[in-house]
């Protein structure tokens, strides 16, 4: 019984690290490089990208379509931290101090509220559909129809009911974000391994305990991937809503990109677009590590 060495050793680094096999190594150049290479490569990579951009834009020579990287960076700086906008020309020039920051905040608010609503409503719907055949039979036609429908097609009807204010933006975010949450949650409940449920039953779990202690933890990583999908879908929803609602002032990042492009302000268009890209990147990477933390037994990841 003590002879556990006949077993294969654990693949886990932590348990192997507990064995006295580790020794200190010298900080050779190679070891330092191995640690630092990814940030360094990324930095070089992005620098080359910026240089190519600068060079390409100079040759193309149409700042309305493609500004130089430095012009874009200038607009980025003014739009985020201010200092230098030509305030004498306010009515015609969108590029005001803090304009990106302001619109970013507008977008984040609508997006955040819509997402939280999608998550809070979507998870229970998915759980109920997964857990009850009746609920599944009743709800699934609607869920599958709506999730397949290009939801932007609902916009004209939604305008009639909700107008062109914030309500329609919330509606579009929810309509784009809620279905991945519902469907992933449902799939998690549905695919819970029968042998895990059988094990819980053998050890005396009631129906409720099976749901709490087996189905819910099994479903959790599915919910996380659903949320991950919802994050990117919802961002599409909010940007499209902002394109279409056309506020007179500060209608969000989508609005800003749309208006700036229409006004041939290439620098601001691209600066706002970069801000959106950074937001999306941060969100996706953030949830990716969240998934790995919540469910380390699952292989990451699908996007």
């Amino acid at each position: 019984m003590t002879d556990q060495l006949t077993e294969h050793e654990s693949t886990d680094g932590a348990s192997i690290a507990s064995q006295p096999r580790l020794r200190d190594a010298n900080w050779t150049f190679e070891r330092i490089w191995r640690r630092a290479r990814y940030p360094v490569i990324t930095l070089i990579n992005l620098s080359i990208f910026a240089l190519l951009w600068e060079w390409g834009a100079t040759i193309y020579d149409n700042a309305n379509f493609i500004p130089t990287f430095s012009d874009m960076a200038g607009a980025f700086k003014i739009g985020w931290i201010g200092g230098g906008a030509d305030s004498t020309n306010e009515t015609f020039d969108l590029l005001q101090d803090f304009v990106i920051a302001k619109n970013f905040w507008v977008t984040i608010q609508v997006y955040g509220v819509g997402l939280i609503a999608s998550i809070l409503v979507g998870i229970p719907i998915g759980l109920v559909m997964g857990g009850s055949r009746w609920a599944d039979a009743i709800l699934s036609p609607y869920v599958w129809t709506f999730s397949s429908l290009p939801r932007i097609a609902l916009f004209p009807i939604l305008v009639l009911f909700l107008g062109l204010g914030n309500e329609i933006k919330y509606a579009l975010v929810i309509l784009t974000a809620i279905f991945p949450v519902i469907i992933n949650t449902w799939a998690g409940v549905k695919t819970t391994e029968q042998s895990l449920i059988n094990a819980a039953r053998v050890f005396g779990a009631s129906r409720r305990q099976i749901y709490q202690k087996v189905v819910l933890p099994y479903t959790l990583p599915f919910v996380v991937s659903g949320i991950q999908l919802a994050l990117s879908r919802g961002l599409v929803g909010v940007v499209i809503a902002e394109f279409l609602t056309g506020a007179s002032k500060d209608g969000g990042l989508g609005w800003l990109i749309f208006r700036a492009a229409r006004g041939f302000n290439g620098a601001l268009t691209y600066a706002a677009l970069m801000s959106l890209a950074v937001l999306a990147l941060v969100l996706v990477q953030g949830t990716r590590s969240m998934e790995a933390k919540i469910a380390p037994w699952r292989q990451v990841s699908k996007t």
Binding site: M1, T2, D3, Q4, T6, E7, H8, E9, S10, T11, D12, A14, S15, S18, E193, S195, L196, N198, A199, A200, R201, V202, F203, G204, A205, S206, Q209, K213, V214, P217, Y218, L220, A295, P296, W297
Partner: protein
């Protein structure tokens, strides 16, 4: 090697009795009922190690699920200690083919699981002690806080065994527990299971499709025919224990004859199954 289910002197009272039991399960996707076992008559005696062998798909798992209380017989009866089996019980525990350990729980939390669902009357510290010593018994000390995905298949099944035995059930059900393991790990675990069961004095119903495993572990080996399954023959294995802890059971004078006889039976069934179903 008798072909009649004779009661030998060391064998205890009947613990599980299946009489003319027919049982199956629902194929959910096709909305069909599938008969897995027909007219089964089989008795498990207190203290014995009963092995069921048969071709895959012959209903061995269905039998063990019925004993566990996960399935109800369609016809006939199945009793435990004289009472019809209506549901699962603390007395009957199970080791699963695919381990069925909860991936989000550590080794310790997995082994402790049976205590969460049933009141064993033990205090929290008694439970701690029992869990700890059981983890030691299966050779997992030092891995209490590891997660299953950090462990090898053999170690995961050790968790499954510990979880099944930690409440000291009277009857241990094992559904092809070593089927997915490599040959070396399997032999190690077979020997350890034999020791654990001998120490605890448990009754065991063990499923395998390996004839060698059946002879190595079983006091009796029941050959189940192909679907719908029924008991084809029951064979006594009168080889003294411990069989696996030391020495080589395959060198035992009776081993070869037993193996040949069993293989003859199982081969018929396997071929029959092929012709019947594929």
């Amino acid at each position: 090697m008798s072909t009649q289910p004779t009661v030998n002197s060391s064998r205890g009272d009947p613990l599980v009795v299946a009489e003319n039991m027919t049982v199956g399960y629902e194929l959910e996707r096709e909305r069909k009922l599938l008969t897995a076992l027909t007219d089964i008559n089989l008795t498990v005696h207190e203290g014995e190690f009963l092995v069921l062998v048969g071709p895959s798909g012959c209903g061995k798992t269905t039998f063990i699920n019925a004993v566990a209380g996960l399935l109800q017989p369609w016809e006939g009866t199945i009793t435990y200690d004289g009472q019809p089996i209506k549901g699962t019980s603390q007395d009957r525990s199970m080791v699963f083919q695919d381990y069925a350990v909860m991936p989000w729980r550590t080794v310790e939390q997995n082994v402790k699981m049976p205590f969460e669902f049933r009141d064993t009357g033990l205090s929290a510290s008694q439970i701690e002690d029992q869990v700890k010593s059981m983890i030691g018994n299966v050779g997992l000390q030092g891995f209490e806080n590891s997660f299953p995905h950090e462990l090898s298949g053999g170690m995961r099944q050790r968790v499954g065994i510990a979880r099944a035995m930690v409440t000291q059930p009277r009857l241990l059900l094992a559904d092809e527990p070593f089927g997915a393991l490599d040959a070396m790990t399997r032999e190690v675990l077979q020997a350890q299971l034999e020791t654990l069961v001998m120490d605890a004095g448990q009754t065991v119903v063990f499923i395998t499709h390996s004839i060698d495993e059946a002879i190595s572990l079983g006091d009796r080996v029941a050959v189940i025919s192909h679907r719908p399954g029924t008991v084809r023959e029951i064979i006594d294995v009168d080889i003294e224990r411990p069989r696996l802890a030391e020495g080589e059971i395959t060198r035992h004078p009776e081993y070869g004859a037993l193996r040949e006889h069993l293989w003859g039976l199982v081969k018929d069934e396997a071929l029959g199954a092929k012709g019947a179903v594929v």
